[in-house]
């Protein structure tokens, strides 16, 4: 079995993995990182979105072996100095979550979106989040939250 080294939320892990093991299953079932959920099996829903070396990926579509030597950040590792990331806080402020199942992926995708466009329009946000599905909110408050998160992050001194 291949041995991989991967850093997840700041902790380094060495794991022997089957080549077919999905990154999301490594996270959830081997490392106990259950903050990242699985919503589909065709990479349509985006619930499992994490950052892989700074870019958002759907962790159901990445093999664990592909993450060898990489740095992974999940929703559990987003906080800054023990507090919530401004985007997490913005989702709370704007009531941008109901059941919360899509939320980890939605927050990660929103942060990634701002990397390309720190001050996105509503339309840019809607298209930027096309790969993340939500069944509860109708997206109205998610769009608002991303706008608010962008403003807060624009103000913040450090970016994650």
């Amino acid at each position: 079995m291949p041995r991989i080294t991967v850093t997840v939320d700041g902790v380094k892990y060495e794991e022997d993995v089957e080549p077919r093991l999905l990154l999301v299953h490594l996270l959830r079932e081997r490392l106990g990182k259950t903050g990242t959920p699985v919503g589909c099996d065709t990479s349509n829903c985006g619930a499992c979105t994490v950052m892989l070396d700074g870019k958002s990926v759907k962790s159901c579509s990445v093999l664990a072996v592909q993450a060898d030597g990489c740095d992974v950040v999940t929703i559990e590792g987003l906080g800054v100095n023990g507090s919530m990331h401004p985007m997490q806080q913005a989702f709370h402020e704007e009531h941008a979550l109901q059941c919360g199942y899509c939320t980890p992926g939605m927050v990660m995708a929103a942060i990634d979106l701002l990397r390309d466009d720190p001050d996105p329009s509503e339309e840019r946000i809607r298209h930027g989040l096309e790969g993340n599905l939500c069944r509860c909110t109708g997206y109205c408050n998610i769009v608002r939250a991303v706008r608010r998160g962008a403003q807060e992050m624009g103000r913040a001194v450090t970016m994650p």
């Binding site: 903050g35 919503g39 065709t42 349509n44 059941c99 199942y101 298209h127 109708g138 109205c140």
Partner: protein, 801 residues
């Protein structure tokens, strides 16, 4: 992340600067539920594990209809990591039959529904065998080693064909599940010599509810009693039903619904997988867990809608409705599940909607097909009814060349006529259709959009503008137990709550509702805080575990606030009554001399008082209790409503339809809803947003498609199209407020209203855009291809003439 810091961060941001004593009910409180959901500490069923847990996977039928002639699981048993493998035969003696709790009519046929098929399969996806292994990868490998032989039987897919004498049968008793009819008034007279008769047939396509969290079940046993974790809306109903189905005594079963990631009716079910996991835990003496994949879920989570609606409406020349006749065919799928046959009947009293008429008839035939069973999906019976009547009202307006709002105005119940008993026998307690419509048309810019529509028509713009109207009402808050009894439903409709003052003055609320995104923890805290005069943050709400919330009827049918929320209020009032007796004893006065305000009992005209927190501690120490007062400041209450809840509203949708490509774009959407008094406007707004999106999804995007052999083609999210953020506009919302008279808070249900209202608003808008092209219907979902084909069809018909 530091849990303490996150809590502080949230608390700080949630400060509301209002004077002490201001009421909690009505405030846009941000949710208590959010912190763990936002930081990845959520307890989804699949996140929970037990030492030595084994993973279950099911082998599912690839045939729509077949006799099982052989199942050989021995190949699977030999593979590494495999603990056991079973076929339906192995469960035959103990698995019972999945329950149908709603035998709707005398003629209803409820076929045996084994959780695992033993001798015959009747839809693609029905479980025929299972593997239990040390991890899910090994379980998946082992499924490949199971050998099943089938003798194919004919699929039954079309409802009309299924009812013919020549049709192959889904069940021995035939393909008719039930038939029912209600009539009111003289229908024949209403249609006789009617100057206008509208006659239309609409199709409600089959939908897949698609909660974002796939189902998951874990079961464990200590050899005597059982615990079942499930992603369910109904832990309490499930516990009763598991006992009935398996024969395991009810008191030996504990059901836990941990965090549940959405339901929309799809988790209002007693599933094969729940029963089988429980039986597997018993067989193996080990914890077992099953988590479905999305494609497995599309096949086997119960589907929604699927009706053919034949509607006839008779009207006078001035647009006044004389009579309405509705005949439905409703696809049950292969079996009757928990409330399958009742779903279309939840629309039986709703086709007449907000309109007055002389006569009404509703007839429905339930039909078996070899497809996944249907059951509750957001709105359940009422979206179908609202779609039918609101589409027909637009057709009537078109026939009369009248504005669709005007034809509605001429027929709807006026605000000063409430309470109003409708032709179908329901009594609407309150409402104001005029006010909601006035507000909506003003927000929408109705007249201006009509002018633009005329302009685009005049200049033959390839992009036409359509305006869709939906003036809906619905019956929710399921339901008064007496009425459920009359409908032959197998249970009551009450809800239960307990309220406990803890020794330190904090409050625990225990509710029988089972939230899965609705924010009950926040709203119930607001209700309890007002009733007891305690801070919002001093209240915690427990739910979803039959060992903690021992009594409940769970969450569905927009019932939680209007029944469960009222139970919380009633329980809190009882606690206050107890506290009053104790306060009177401590203050040496009569209970009648005390007034309660801001969380304290005060002797009228003095400064002597005891706070509710002091009284909680006094009850705990019990050093000096009066005669007849026990050492506890807690109580419980069960609330059973006297009537349904009748939210209503006016939804207006403007679409741009590209007549060259068939593409439909929603340009603006205005919803003015009347849900009575509001506990938390933030949560209400979220419910309406999400509801509208789901109704739009039915109008434009979603359809479960079976091929000619009965294979589901839409098994993945790549094939079954949920709208993304890019597919939807921002909705403009407002409210009017006609308090409900059926409960002390004046509240009405809101969970389903948006979905019920929005589908006809969108389709009416599309048809409105295309009427000059001779089009008076587009079948849902109104995809660009369907719209384009409708336009092409009309163009070709024109050429042939």
């Amino acid at each position: 992340m530091d849990a303490g810091l996150v809590a502080e961060q949230i608390a700080e941001s949630d400060q509301i600067n209002e004077p002490a004593g201001a009421l909690e009910v009505g405030r846009p409180r941000k949710r208590k539920e959010d912190a763990r959901l936002l930081t990845g500490r959520t307890q989804w069923t699949d996140n929970i594990t037990r030492p030595g847990v084994l993973h279950v996977m099911f082998l599912r039928s690839p045939m729509a209809h077949a006799r099982i002639t052989r199942v050989d699981v021995s190949g699977a048993r030999e593979l590494p990591g495999v603990v056991a493998a079973f076929s339906g035969q192995d469960f035959a003696a103990e698995q019972g039959s999945l329950p149908c709790a709603w035998p709707v009519s005398e003629d209803v046929v409820i076929p045996d529904h084994p959780p695992m098929a033993v001798s015959e399969v009747r839809y693609v996806g029905e479980a025929v065998a299972c593997v239990i292994a040390t991890d899910r990868y090994r379980a998946a490998d082992a499924l490949e080693a199971i050998d099943v032989e089938y003798e194919q039987l004919p699929a039954v897919l079309d409802m009309n064909e299924a009812l013919t004498a020549e049709s192959p049968k889904v069940h021995e008793a035939g393909n008719k599940a039930f038939s029912t009819k209600i009539t009111s008034g003289d229908l024949e007279a209403a249609f006789r010599d009617a100057p206008i008769v509208i006659d239309r047939t609409f199709r409600q396509q089959r939908l897949i509810p698609t909660a974002m969290e796939p189902r998951a079940v874990m079961a464990d046993t200590d050899g005597e009693s059982f615990t079942l974790w499930s992603s369910t809306q109904i832990p309490h109903v499930l516990r009763v039903m598991l006992a009935v189905v398996t024969g395991i005594p009810e008191h030996k079963i504990r059901v836990i619904a941990p965090d549940v990631g959405g339901g929309f009716g799809s988790k209002l079910q007693v599933t094969a997988e729940e029963v089988l996991c429980l039986l597997l835990a018993r067989k193996l003496g080990k914890p077992v867990k099953w988590t479905e994949s999305r494609s497995e879920g599309n096949l086997t989570v119960h589907h929604g809608r699927d009706q053919i609606q034949h509607i006839r409406l008779a009207a006078d020349a001035d647009g006044r409705i004389r009579g309405l006749q509705v005949a439905l065919l409703a696809d049950m799928g292969a079996y009757l599940m928990l409330v399958t046959p009742g779903i279309p009947l939840l629309g039986a009293s709703m086709f007449n909607a907000i309109y007055k008429m002389d006569a009404y008839e509703f007839a429905c035939t339930g039909v078996f097909t070899t497809k996944m069973p249907t059951d509750a999906y957001r709105g359940a019976g009422r979206p179908e009814a609202t779609f039918g009547i609101e589409r027909v009202m637009d057709e009537l307006a078109a026939e009369l060349r009248m504005d669709p709002l005007e034809v509605r105005r001429r027929n709807w119940i006026k605000h000063d006529e409430f309470p109003y008993t409708t032709i179908s026998g329901l009594t609407y307690d309150s409402g104001n259709y005029e006010a909601a419509t006035d507000k909506a048309t003003a927000l929408f810019g109705y007249d201006k959009l009509r002018a633009e529509q005329g302009d685009r028509r005049d200049r033959g713009d390839p992009v036409q503008l359509g305006i869709g109207v939906s003036t809906y009402t619905e019956m929710c808050g399921l339901a008064p137990s007496r009425m459920l009894g009359e409908a032959n439903y197998g249970a009551g409709g009450w809800e239960h709550a307990s309220v406990r003052m803890l020794p330190t003055g904090k409050v625990e609320v225990i509710t029988g509702t089972s939230p899965h995104g609705q924010g009950h923890v926040t709203s119930w805290s607001q209700i309890a805080a007002d009733a007891l005069g305690v801070p919002f943050d001093d209240v915690t709400v427990l739910h979803g575990d039959t060992a903690i919330a021992h009594k409940g009827m769970d969450t569905y049918g927009s019932r939680s606030l209007v029944i469960g929320g009222i139970a919380v209020l009633k329980a809190a009032e009882k606690v206050k009554d107890k506290a009053r007796k104790l306060a009177a004893h401590m203050l040496e006065c009569s209970p009648d001399d005390l007034e309660f305000a801001a969380g304290a009992f005060k002797v009228r005209g003095t400064d002597s008082q005891r706070t509710i927190q002091e009284l909680a501690f006094a009850a705990f120490t019990a050093h000096d209790l009066p005669e007849g007062v026990e050492a506890r400041l807690d109580s419980d209450a069960t609330f059973d409503p006297e009537n349904y809840s009748f939210p209503h509203g006016t939804h207006l949708c403007a679409v741009e339809v590209d007549t060259e490509t068939g593409m439909v774009k929603i340009r603006s959407y205005v919803a003015v809803d009347d849900i009575g008094k509001v506990v938390n406007p933030l949560i209400v707004e979220g419910q309406v947003h999400g509801g509208i999106a789901q109704g739009i999804a039915q109008a434009l995007f979603e359809e479960a498609v079976y091929d000619a052999d009965g294979n589901l083609l839409t098994t993945t999210m790549a094939d079954y199209l949920l709208p993304s953020a890019a597919d939807l506009p921002t909705f403009t919302l407002d409210r009017t407020e006609s308090p409900a008279t059926s409960n002390p808070l004046g509240v009405k249900g809101v969970g389903e209203a948006g979905t019920i209202a929005s589908t006809p608003a969108v389709v009416n808008a599309i048809v409105d855009a295309l009427r000059p092209h001779g089009i008076h219907d587009v079948e849902m979902p109104c995809t660009p291809e369907r719209v384009w084909r409708a336009l092409e069809g009309r163009a070709q018909e024109g050429a042939r003439r």
